[in-house]
């Protein structure tokens, strides 16, 4: 009874599961789920630009031109293409969620099929939007 207890080995925490060292394999289901939340947060940040763009309508024409110039700058265009993709992904994946909420497409093959549909949908519509935007300019 006088013996000291052996030092307790710390219990493993979840990081042991994750790549590159862990045994956990990435799958589309969790990746798209994370991306849904990430795009939602990104779109939330994008509302700052939307509000700035609208408020500039009440200022001088040069105020509005400043916002448009920012949008047309290299950084602005990268942000805008990113937000366009985020919008279409969040829209498409949101519809995927709404379908699940009705109890449909909940089998594993259908969950993956829907995931690929959303990926293709968001890429195609992002490209189409920017092709159209530059055609009208």
């Amino acid at each position: 009874m006088a013996e000291a207890a052996p030092p307790r080995r710390p219990r493993p925490l979840s990081p042991f599961l994750f790549p590159p060292t862990g045994t956990y394999r990435w799958q589309m289901t969790s990746s798209l789920s994370i991306l849904h939340r990430a795009t939602g947060v990104a779109l939330g940040v994008g509302t700052l630009l939307l509000t700035w763009w609208l408020l500039a309508l009440l200022g001088e024409p040069s105020d509005f031109a400043a916002v448009q110039d920012f949008i047309g700058s290299p950084i602005g265009l990268v942000l805008m293409v990113g937000w366009t993709f985020a919008l279409f992904f969040h829209l498409g994946n949101g519809i995927r969620h709404l379908v699940w909420d009705t109890g449909h497409a909940l089998t594993l093959p259908n969950v993956y099929r829907g995931g690929w549909m959303v990926i293709i949908f968001s890429i195609v519509l992002t490209v189409a939007t920017w092709v159209a935007a530059f055609s009208f300019a």
Binding site: G40, F64, G94, F136
Partner: protein
Amino acid sequence: MASQSDKRLVGPLGRARGLGSAKQGLHHWWAQRVSSVALVPLTLWFVFSAIHFHGADQATVHDWLRRPASAIMMSLLIVATFYHLALGVQVVIEDYVHREGVKLTSLLLAKGLIVLLAAAALFTVLRVAVGG
């Protein structure tokens, strides 16, 4: 003698309401779905409109927003977007911030900012549509 409901520490009225200690049911979840359904046509309309304003000047966009159809759709887009955003941001904060004080502060700051942005955006649309 104690009845079944006494043992469960829930009165008949509480059991009928079915809300538990959170004091609310599925309103948040349902509001998120309803706003998302509204945002499907609204965001598609917005993207379709915004494509035309790539590089446009103030007068062009101003004239467009003055039209009743544009002003109505834009107002609805603003309300649905910021409502949906507030609901989503709340879930994200509640998932990752666990210290009660920090959580409450983050929620109040985030929602306060969202309400401020929504008011500013909506005011702009009304000002353009109604005023000069």
